[in-house]
Amino acid sequence: MSDEKLKKTEKDWEENKYGKTVNRFGERKDEFKSDSGRTIKPLYTPLDLENIDYEESINYPGQYPFTRGVYPTMYRSKFWTMRQYAGFGNAKETNQRFRYLLDQGQTGLSVAFDLPTQIGYDSDHPLARGEVGKVGVAIDTLADMEVLFDQIPLDEVSTSMTINAPASILLAMYMVVAEKQGVNPDKLAGTIQNDILKEYIARGTYIFPPEPSLRIITDIFDYCSKEMPRWNTISISGYHIREAGSDAIQELAFTIADGIEYVQAAVDIGMDVDQFAPRLSFFFNAQMDLFEEIAKFRAARRLWAEVMEERFNAKKDKSKMLRFHTQTAGSALTAQQPMNNIMRVTLQALSAVLGGTQSLHTNSYDEALGLPTEDSVKIALRTQQVLAHETGAADTIDPMAGSYYVESLTDKFVKEAKEYIDKIDELGGMAKAIEAGFVQREIQESAYQTQKKVENKEKVVVGVNKFTEEESKKAENLLKVNPEVEKHQINGLKKIKEKRDDSKVNKALQKVKIAAQSEDKNLMYPIIEAVKEYATIGEISDVLRDEYGEYKAQYI
């Protein structure tokens, strides 16, 4: 049907068929809005794709701008990696959980570290009291890392480590553990999150100020491009930005803008974009609005491809491919009627699969109550397995393409995200925008509006503001972190310190200091040497603290 005729028939349908029915029966709401507050039309038709050129904006899987997927075969060759975030207590307990998950069919590891580790404090630091082993595994030295990966062949398993400010140290430890297993660094596959900008915005586990932090990050880019070609040097994250309260477009825009800042930082010190860009990766949230999320993932790929091509003149295809990990939204899960969360996670996971994610973590249903138990994490894993093997969702590539709704939404997302990115460019880039508090304010405003919507029931949350129960059945058998963990960890640390050669440690720390002070030494090399001597995370971080100072949050 020609566009002219279509316009006529659509108008006709709207005014007559649709309009008349609305007058008779009404609609459930006066206005239908997506999770991100965008108006949802009753109907999408070919007319909504009028200005979208298939070859230019959609194209084929594995072909620029990669809207339909980064690889030509996608899940037909290999399912996404099922990678459940795990970690608690000490290395031994976490190692057990890792091996359990691998036995249950998980295909990659994802490490959660405790807060002291994430912030560069040893387990015996005064600020670590009460925090050791609580939100992740406690790692003080290489010794803990060795236990963590006991009986896990690092040449066969890929590992993602959620570590940011001290990422260099944990990467060094991982490498040394692998070496001891007889595995060369160039065989290692995995990721370090290493995304400091979002820490300032939304997550809070920063140590140093932005400038030196970017230096550490570009050192890692450089090191890995030479020594660890299979390693993803960064996981540029939108997950946390979304969890902090942003909407889908903000999540998309701020993540891409962070990516731009990192690429620019590396280019500014003279790196060739094609040298490091292929190993940048991303991390997105999978929230509840099914179609928005699918559109977001597709838009992300197209947006990044265009950025790399137009702004940075990347030549390699691999530099323009946005590969990403997804985690289902923790903030969408409820403490009330926790079993409902199983359904939520299933649908969130579906959006990620239909969106073409490279790896996926599904939350456990007890998310709002505590860390996952073996049983609850198993259900979360099974969710992915059912999706993969029973639904056919993975059997054709980018099945949602061509949907009038999803394609027009994808295109809209790209345009709206670009507006935000332009605004951030005006402010001088993401680092400046964060310093000015712009990003934080946008997120907080969204968070507040969401809260209002839930409280006035404009946004329904089943079990919380609708279909509530007086006395919800109390969740049983929650995971409890062993209260002795802190004591054991501190004792273990003492023993390591007694056994190691302090003079070698000090020499190695000196070398870290010298590298930190110089502008042309890569920090990774001296950090690796220090790690081999069993220098602690705290000791290495303190050397850097002395040089770089600590970040002070300026904005509410």
Binding site: L115, G204, G245, A335, A368, Q444, Y448, I556
Partner: protein, 130 residues
């Protein structure tokens, strides 16, 4: 001159998740209260000192890291040592129900779970203060 309710919203320990704290702070402000927000990584010492100097009516502790088992007793102890255990202390975040009894025994007046409407917290505070 009207009397205002003054509340300190604090994030004890290393936990960096501040969405809830900020939303509550704003909600309390819009309910007419004066809210002191001190940012991340507050030690028990800093929290109690802020509460004392600001002469707050209520301290709201927000924590999601599980470290409340150590930090809350510390805070309550320091509050007592400072002779200000008359200040009402409430808490929210991820605090397992199993711990609630112990926390109440420490003197914490209420523990709010995720999903609690702001209005509930406002009402609770207004009741406590009057």
């Amino acid at each position: 001159m009207e009397k205002k309710i003054k509340v300190l919203i604090a994030k004890p320990g290393l936990d960096g998740h501040d969405r809830g704290a900020k939303v509550i702070a704003r909600g309390l402000k819009e309910a007419g209260m004066e809210v002191v927000y001190t940012g991340l990584r507050q030690t028990p010492e800093q929290i109690v000192r802020s509460a004392v100097q600001e002469d707050v009516d209520v301290i709201g502790l927000s924590i999601l890291s599980g470290a409340h088992t150590y930090l809350f007793p510390e805070i309550m102890k320091r509050l007592k040592d400072a002779n200000r255990d008359d200040i009402a202390v409430i808490a929210g975040g991820i605090i397992p129900e199993d711990d609630h009894t112990e926390l109440k025994e420490l003197g914490i007046k209420a523990v709010f779970q995720p999903g609690t409407p702001i209005s509930d917290i406002v009402d609770f505070i207004k009741n406590e203060v009057n």
